[in-house]
């Protein structure tokens, strides 16, 4: 009671100064589509928050420097060892600072989750055609954020200056150096000299904790701003059109759901960070240019690049007598093509489908066999590349020579994508042709949520069981229609009545004209019927309870005010 009173007072005083009520009302009433795949981007967002939180803790203890240091501390095998300050401080963080290891490992796990969620989010957007007009802009921003996330992940695990990451850094250095004409200058400017230099760790640190996160934060803000302005897309379904959004309200349903997701992300990252060891740099040892770990695998999100470097045959050639080294094609060209393809996809897809229209309704993946087939083929190639990054591990497990594994993977990289893509294409065509629901049918979940609508919304001819939907004895309707009514408080409301669902408008309108305009925007020229307010039951007990609650709140508020006044009076008297 008292909280409600306080909240209302606060809202009133803010509104007096900023006139926030209309905006707040719109935002709270925003409708989000009910489909699990719309939560993937949120997982990425919350992983970013976890990264910032745990990362700030780490910066307070990490020393971004390669200056010679002697580590003294609880980790006996390295006690008294001469290492770089970066490495020593990372070991100190892991063993001598309380909760330090938890924060370090959670940070690393959150990074893996961050990129994983981004990639899954991207796949959802890709396969359902959510990148189409008007959302190309957000696709471009999203791909940029993916690239930044990969880069920041790489600098993040390179700055501890351990043996494994030092080797990875050397590979990136060599790949950059392989760029014709500018490669040598590029690496020298980036690293300040020939590998390894003392400038690398501090420069990567600044980029890792300041530059890239700042850009990411700005891009996230723009990404979400555009999302709010454009509203969500949605899967096709009953009552869903190109001009509406069907689902649950932001307040309260999605507010609670998204906070739950945030807490889940925190729970999972801290559980992993506490229980599952990751990047044990104290086992790898400090970086030494004359040593390497074996086996050596990078984090999964850069492993496709490493796999490409392993699989690609030794091709070196000369242009005008100048060398183009072998990492150039698999490293620079393949990586460049990957991101160029991602950036250009909305425009290629538009040209291929001759589709320049704006879309709010998503394609079920099978509705677009060519896109599905292409996507599956590319995924198959990347799956082989990921496996290739672990070829030495596979060889050890299977007890076969690593070069045989390499040969098989080379064949797979060439032979697998096309059949995989063609199979996906054919399956999609078959599904589309007979209208059947089956393999690879993402809308199965959609059916489930439509089923939920039937039991929670007001089903036609069934008993109303809903919470928060207008309850009414709904007589069967012949055709889809929009119903408009004036509620008891004099505000206008409307709802959509279809054969299987009933959807309530998310807001109330002061005038009939406004309500009708909204309904006509959402449902075009569906017939509009003015009806008696549905939900005959006035709900007397509830009203009484509410009134009693409000009264109690008022009493509580007065009591609090009285208490404050009394306390002030006493203070004044003491003076």
């Amino acid at each position: 009671m008292i909280t409600r009173w306080l909240l209302r007072r606060l809202a009133r005083s803010v509104d007096d100064r900023l006139r926030t009520a209309p905006v707040v009302r719109r935002v709270l009433a925003a409708v989000f589509p009910d489909h699990w795949s719309f939560m993937l981007g949120e997982i990425a967002l919350y992983s970013f928050v976890v990264l910032v939180l745990t990362g700030v803790f780490l910066t307070l203890f990490f020393a971004p420097s390669t200056a010679d240091t002697v580590y003294t501390g609880a980790y006996a095998p390295l006690d008294g060892a001469r290492t770089s300050a970066a490495y020593a401080s990372t070991v100190r963080l892991s063993f001598d600072i309380r909760a330090g290891l938890l924060m370090r490992q959670s940070h690393h796990w959150a990074a893996l989750l961050f990129v994983g969620a981004i990639v899954l989010h991207l796949l959802r957007i890709f396969f359902t055609g959510a990148f189409r007009r008007p959302r190309e802009m957000n696709w471009l921003i999203g791909v940029t954020m993916l690239a930044l996330a990969l880069f920041n992940g790489f600098t993040g695990y390179s700055i501890p200056d351990d043996l494994l990451s030092g080797t990875g850094l050397r590979i990136l250095y060599s790949v950059t150096q392989s760029i014709p004409l500018v490669g040598e200058w590029l690496v020298f400017l980036a690293a300040g000299g020939e590998f390894p230099t003392d400038e690398m760790v501090p420069r990567m640190f600044v980029s890792h904790v300041l530059l890239v996160p700042a850009v990411l934060a700005a891009l996230i803000a723009i990404h979400l701003g555009i999302l709010i302005r454009q509203k969500h897309s949605q899967f096709p379904g009953p009552g869903r059109t190109e001009n509406n959004v069907v689902g649950s309200l932001f307040w309260p349903s999605y507010t609670v759901r998204t906070l739950a997701l945030f807490a889940w992300v925190l729970a999972v990252t801290f559980a992993l960070g506490g229980l599952a060891q990751i990047n044990p740099v104290w086992i790898y040892g400090p970086f030494d240019p004359a040593q390497a770990t074996s086996p050596a695998q990078p984090d999964w999100y850069v492993a496709w690049g490493d796999g490409a470097l392993r699989l690609f045959p030794a091709v070196e050639f000369r242009i005008f007598g100048q060398l183009v080294p072998s990492p150039f094609l698999p490293g620079v060209v393949f990586g460049g093509l990957t991101f160029a393809g991602l950036y250009l996809w909305p425009f290629l897809d538009r040209r291929h489908g001759r589709d320049r229209l704006a879309h709010q309704l998503l394609d079920p993946p099978r509705a677009h066999p060519a896109r599905l087939g292409f996507g599956v083929a590319v995924l198959a190639l990347f799956a082989v590349l990921l496996a290739a990054a672990a070829d030495d591990v596979i060889a050890t497990i299977l007890r076969v020579p690593v070069l045989d594994v390499l040969a098989i993977l080379r064949v797979l990289a060439l032979a697998l994508p096309v059949p995989a893509g063609v199979t996906a294409y054919l399956v999609a065509r078959a599904l589309r042709a007979n209208g059947g629901r089956g393999v690879g049918d993402l809308t199965r979940a959609d059916v489930r949520s439509a089923g939920r609508l039937v039991c929670v919304g007001s089903p036609v001819g069934g008993a109303p069981t809903g919470i928060g939907t207008p309850e009414g004895t709904a007589e069967p309707v012949d055709a889809d229609r929009v119903e408009l009514w004036r509620d008891r408080t004099g505000l206008w409301r409307w709802r959509y009545r279809g054969a299987s669902v009933s959807l309530t408008a998310n807001r109330a309108y002061p005038s009939r004209a406004e309500a009708e305009r909204a309904a006509r925007t959402a449902y075009g020229d569906l017939s509009v019927w003015e009806v008696a307010p549905p939900g005959g039951r006035p709900g007397a007990p509830a009203a009484v309870a509410a009134r009693a609650g409000r009264a109690a709140g008022r009493v509580g508020g007065y009591l609090a005010l009285a208490a404050v006044a009394f306390w002030r009076a006493r203070r004044d008297r003491r003076r």
Partner: protein, 288 residues
């Protein structure tokens, strides 16, 4: 709407479950604080913190699923084409008579000034590579190895040909340059009768020395396969045949490991007679 003030039968167990979950979260948080205060233990810290967040997450999930409406709402979604009047007025406001857009000459000069400034602003980027450092091409082509430089182990002790073990490789450095990235080399003892191609750096009593850095991406070729006298790079599995001039025979590398020309000095220690036979490590544009 309904059910907020008068909980029905369905939601009472749900709210009890959610409340219990929040209670578990309190226990988790208290547990985390206790573990931390008692000296800290990573696994328990992670577990208690995870329980604390999972309690909140589970409670909120139950709340969202059982106590709040799911679905059933619709919001209109206006198309994004503005009305023609709006478009026209916006265009007029932007390009009206007083609009800076109309001052072509001024705009050109301003663009020129900004472009010049932008170009000038690129120059300080050169500071990223200090001027007292060697220019890239020269630095990449050369190493501190030179005539008369002794081969030393990682701990700085010089090496006699007899010190090179039979079954393994010995990592060597130029004396006084242990930490440079381009210097590591390895010495290995081979049977001169088995050479199919003479080693590029020559041999002293069967000892040959090559750069340790893979010519593909610069990783140390740390794995020595004794029987076949091959070295394997752990990064991308490039394999080099030491009996055939350290030529690459598998994997993505396509240049031989540079050899180090060696001899023995007056004290019987191995010394270089010059730099590597080719720049060590990964390739680059101006590599000859």
């Amino acid at each position: 709407m309904t059910g907020r003030d008068a909980p029905d039968r369905r939601e009472r167990p749900a709210s009890a479950i959610a409340a219990a979950a929040f209670g578990v979260s309190v226990l988790g948080a208290a547990g985390f604080a206790a573990v931390y205060a008692a000296g800290g233990q990573t696994q328990l810290e992670g577990l208690t913190l995870a329980v604390a967040f999972a309690g909140i997450a589970f409670g909120l999930s139950v709340w969202a699923r059982r106590l709040l409406p799911t679905g059933g709402y619709v919001e209109e979604h206006e198309p994004f084409d503005s009305r023609p009047t709006d478009l026209r007025l916006a265009a007029e406001a932007l390009t009206g008579p007083e609009s800076p857009v109309r001052r072509r000459g001024l705009l050109t000069m301003l663009a020129l000034a900004l472009g010049a400034l932008g170009g000038a602003a690129l120059f300080p980027l050169r500071s990223l590579l200090p001027f007292d450092r060697v220019r890239p091409v020269h630095a990449l082509r050369t190493t501190p190895w030179a005539a008369g430089v002794r081969l030393v182990r990682a701990d700085g002790t010089p090496v006699r040909p007899a010190d090179v073990p039979d079954g393994s490789v010995l990592t060597v450095f130029p004396e006084g340059h242990r930490d440079r990235g381009d210097v590591p080399a390895f010495a290995v003892r081979l049977d001169p009768a088995r050479f199919t191609v003479p080693p590029s750096g020559g041999e002293v009593a069967g000892v040959v020395v090559h750069s340790l850095l893979c010519t593909h991406a610069g990783c140390p070729v740390a794995l020595y396969l004794q029987g076949t006298a091959r070295v394997l790079c752990p990064c991308h599995q490039s394999t080099f045949d030491l009996l055939a001039g350290a030529r690459p025979i598998a994997g993505p590398a396509s240049r031989a490991l540079p050899g180090l020309p060696i001899t023995v000095d007056a004290d019987g220690y191995l010394v270089a007679t010059g730099d590597f036979t080719a720049p060590p490590g990964a390739g680059f544009w101006s590599l000859k």
